[in-house]
């Protein structure tokens, strides 16, 4: 049985069924199909996973679906590839995905676009599975673009609001910029290696005779694709805006799965990066910058989802730091833990928003701990996990990242470590700030809102609980070793190995420090924080305005493009130069026509004169040649 194909197609079936029939057959049908098929996919993945486990550590299941196209001797095959890396990703996608589908049945209850929502969500799963299961870059790219599409559709799910529709468009366009880089890399690889199968490409780069293309160039191009999808500087701008979508979507797409596609891609193509130190360095530096700057922005955000969004960006940055220093398995490890706690956080935030009837501003929350206890507890666990409090999941993965950032033989350096730790510190700080302001401080809610606060239905809370548990214990699965047959372990510089334990303590200290700082500042509510902001107004504005990157892009790219298109191309080029020339020629012809008409005066003598002129001309012409 073509298990992998089935895994991919199950959500697609959900999309088709919900899309075509959902509106007619009602929400129950939609829920059953929408949740059932992903769960089936998850079960199928488990089955495939067990098969894979039996096959041995470095085995891979390869399934040929069909031949997309063949040109000459070259064929573009649609093949699915299931090794341990894809297995982990698939499990995350189907597992967390299924949970979020279940959660959504509660969250989206009663929405007019219920069927549409589940259709989109299933479509997303389909493309995401295509992405992680695809053997060739082409299939991967199909999924890559497809998840962008699903993301676009879901961000703009409530399209009546122009801002939400615009956010969707922004996400898509920004992703497209990255996709262009991906495409370029893909083309280059195809030209150089002659195949798009990722395992073969890796093998080619591992081979003694490397392909005739700069691995760094290809690496950087693919990484551009990754920055788009994974919201890294400079293409991170879409992710915060993407919070316009329904919260489960943020959890699934913009936290747990899609945004980690970039990490997956780089990890998957590690064969290239291992031979591209420059590219790796770029990956690390960009990742670090993203981690740091996103964390600083998250410090001052007041929208609960925006905080989480920047936190996601920051965490993704850390993953790229890991990738950049060659710790591919560690990066995937963080993807894995991050999927749990960040999904839990988002869903918790969703639960809060649900409880508050749509309120997202943490300045108008507070004191929710007792009102919605399940949400609070799960949220707190996840917060602790992301902050890196041991022994929760986030601690393990983050600690390893920081260690390899410091000590990796493939580009680790104290600077990476220091700034990464600073980012971790800020993470801890803003997450606890969020926890305090939302749940623990005295209520700042309006009376009416407060009156309606209620705990979410079991379909939502149960998911929260599951995720919280996973966030708590997920770290004990030591993924890097498990992935070792696929993704080689990074090696630490021997001279630094003795520092490993000390750094663990530092990491714990950092997490605790963040917690303490947040407690100190926000335990009493907003006042202290606002006072601090007032003391550094410029800095606060800079961070609150997200470094004004959007405005910068608009001024540097958007407007000039528009200006050039409008003024130079349209007005000067098309209308003035081209059409102007042609219209001018036409007008000249008409004018000449008028002149010629005037030559025809009606005077017979003039006609004769013209004729005589002609005769003289004829004679003169032939005489010249006699």
């Amino acid at each position: 049985m073509n298990l992998l194909t089935v895994i991919v197609l199950l959500p697609l079936a959900g999309f088709v069924l919900n899309g075509l029939l959902g509106r007619k057959l009602g929400p129950t049908f939609v829920s059953v199909v929408g949740c059932g098929l992903p769960i089936l996919a998850f079960l199928a993945t488990l089955k495939a996973f067990s098969t894979l486990q039996l096959a041995g550590p470095d085995a891979a299941l390869i399934e040929h679906a069909y031949r997309w196209a063949a040109v000459g001797e070259r064929a573009f095959e649609i093949e699915f590839y299931f090794d341990r890396l894809s297995a982990v990703m698939t499990l995350i996608v189907t597992g967390v995905g299924s949970l979020i589908h279940v959660y959504s049945t509660g969250y989206m209850k009663g929405d007019a676009g219920y069927a549409r929502y589940f259709a989109y969500l299933n479509l997303f799963l389909f493309f995401m599975l295509t992405l992680v299961l695809g053997r060739s870059l082409l299939v991967c790219f199909v999924g890559w673009e497809g998840v962008g599409l699903a993301s676009y559709l879901l961000i703009g799910f409530w399209f009546e609001d122009p801002a939400k529709a615009a956010a969707g468009k922004k996400a898509f366009i920004t992703n497209r910029v990255g996709d262009a880089g991906f495409l370029l890399g893909l083309f280059l690889l195809y030209w150089a290696v002659g195949t798009l199968n990722m395992d073969e490409i890796n093998a080619a780069f591992m081979a003694p005779v490397a392909p005739a293309v700069s691995a760094s160039l290809v690496g950087i191009l693919l990484f551009i694709g990754a920055t788009g999808k994974s919201a890294q500087i400079p293409l991170h701008v879409w992710l915060p805006d993407a919070m316009a979508g329904p919260t489960p979507v943020s959890a699934l797409i913009h936290a747990a799965t899609m945004v980690t596609a970039g990490v997956y891609l780089v990890a998957r193509m590690h064969g290239i990066y291992e031979h591209a130190p420059e590219a790796s360095q770029v990956v690390a530096v960009i990742g670090l910058m993203t981690a740091f700057f996103a964390a600083t922005v998250a410090l001052v955000q007041t929208d609960i989802k925006k905080v989480l969004a920047y936190s996601t960006v920051s965490q993704l940055g850390l993953m790229f730091v890991a990738l950049g220093v060659g710790a591919y398995g560690v990066a995937v490890f963080h993807v894995y833990t991050h999927a749990f706690f960040k999904a839990c956080l988002f869903l918790g935030a969703g639960s809060v928003i649900h409880a508050l009837g749509g309120e997202q501003d943490i300045r108008r929350m507070g004191g929710l701990a007792r009102r919605i206890p399940v949400t609070f507890v799960t949220f707190a666990v996840a917060t602790a996990a992301i902050a890196g409090i041991p022994p929760l999941a986030g601690f393990f993965s983050k600690d390893e990242i920081l260690w390899f950032a410091f000590a990796s033989a493939q580009g680790g350096s104290p600077v990476l470590w220091a700034l990464g730790s600073a980012a971790a510190l800020m993470t801890s700080f803003y997450m606890f700030r969020l926890l305090w302001l939302t749940f623990l401080t005295p209520s700042r809610m309006s009376h009416e809102v407060e009156h309606h606060v209620h705990e979410s239905p079991w379909s939502m809370t149960s998911v929260l609980v599951v995720l919280a548990v996973l966030s708590a214990v997920g770290g004990f699965v030591h993924l890097p070793e498990f992935l070792e047959p696929v993704l080689p372990l990074a090696t630490a510089q021997e001279s630094l190995e003795h520092l490993e334990h000390r750094l663990v303590y530092v990491a714990i200290a950092v997490a605790v420090a963040g917690f303490l700082a947040a407690t100190w500042l926000y335990r009493g509510g907003l006042a202290k924080g606002d006072a601090l902001a007032a003391r550094f107004p410029r800095l606060h504005r800079l961070l609150g305005g997200k470094y004004f990157i959007d405005e910068l892009y608009d001024a540097v790219l958007g407007r000039p493009l528009h200006w050039v298109s409008d003024r130079v191309f349209l007005r000067a080029g098309d209308r003035f130069l081209i059409d102007g020339t042609l219209d001018g020629l036409a007008a000249t012809t008409r004018r000449v026509a008028g002149r010629l008409g005037r030559i025809e005066t009606g005077q017979l003598q003039w006609y004769v004169a013209m004729a005589v002129l002609g005769i003289v001309g004829c004679l003169a012409w032939v005489w010249r040649h006699v």
Binding site: E600, M610, W623, V626
Partner: protein, 461 residues
Amino acid sequence: MNWADVFEAMLPEHVLLAGLVLLLCLEIAKGRPRDGFVVTFLALIVAAAAALMLHTQGYAGTPFPGHYTVDPATSLAKFVVIALTLPVVLISRDDFADTRYYALLLSSLYGACLLVSSESLPTMFLGLEIMSLPVYALVLMAQLRADSAEAALKYLVMGGAATATFLMGVALLYGWSGQMTTGAFAYALASSDPLAVAGVALVVAALFLKAAIVPFHGWAPDAYEGASVPVTAFMATIIKAGVLFAALRLFAGMPVARPVADLLAVLPLVSMVWGNVAAIRQTSFRRMIAYSSIAHAGYLFYALLGAAPGRDQAVLFYVAVYGIMNVLALAMLPRGTDDVRNDRLESLQGLYHRHPYAAIAIAVAMLSLAGLPPLPGFVGKFLIFRNVLAAGYTTYAVLGLVASYLGIYFYLRVIQYMFMNAAPADVPANRTRRLAVAASLLCLAPALALAVFPGWLLDRF
């Protein structure tokens, strides 16, 4: 002189002459006006049949050696000329009731037939005169407008100048060669004797005058506009055809070398541009057709640049198609009492909604004249430019094609008026006349045949 030969070889001419005589008798006997039409029509049919018969029989002979020759090609040309007159006669009946009109038409046609067969310069001279003289009167006979006499005088004076120029050229050629055959001209093409080249130049200039090549074209727009519709049709087709066939006889298969080749290229090229451009701003349909015919005369003379067999083929095909289309367009024009107004292009506005058939027919004619495939005009254009290119005049060919491009606009403008513009408020309702429809069918059928099977005509060479 073999009388049987004379009879057979000149059968079409004889038939025309017989018709002419019969018409004169009718005129004298004061027969009913309609009889003139019937006699003419029958004479034309018989003459056309005779010409076709001579052609298909492959008859070749010289009833008057050195003066007059008949071969299949000339018979075919005669057939074309005579057959083209048929629709002209059909659309004449409503305008002209008297027999004199038909007598003049037949005599002019007789002249054109002479030109086609002429082998000596005097014959050609007489042919030209017999062809032209009646037309001066025909132009004037348009009773519908006051300007006809003016048009006739202009035509006459320019025609007279052309005659004198032609004769002067003939005199010089004669002085050079001592001969009066068309061969004298053809040989003179290769000579560099001053007499010969001057003679050639003058004869060519005279042909240009008759065919209205720029700058000899002054008379054409005025004459076309001033004449009545059938006469315009006759002038635009038969007269032009006659002149071109005369030119073919003169060049007689001789290759054209410089400087005469430049003469044959430059002025016609100027004509194409001039005619096509000047037509853009015209408001009178016939005047526009006149400018169009100036341009077309340019294409026709271009054909002479090419080598011999292709040249005949091109001219014959082009003349046939061009004539058919001109007659078709003029036949389907709305007609009424106010000729000046009916002649305005604006009166064509919205024609499609009033007379769809007429509009479509005119559109076909216009597109064919513009040389757009799949209409036969394209094949004609193709033939001509193929010859020019084959003769090695690439630049001239390209320029000529570009000049022909200039013409597309004003033909399309007519279509635009008929199909796309709304009719003016006070358009008189003109009934489509049955004879005009018959004439149009006489044009459309061969046009269709030539579009689908151009080879039928082309392979006859």
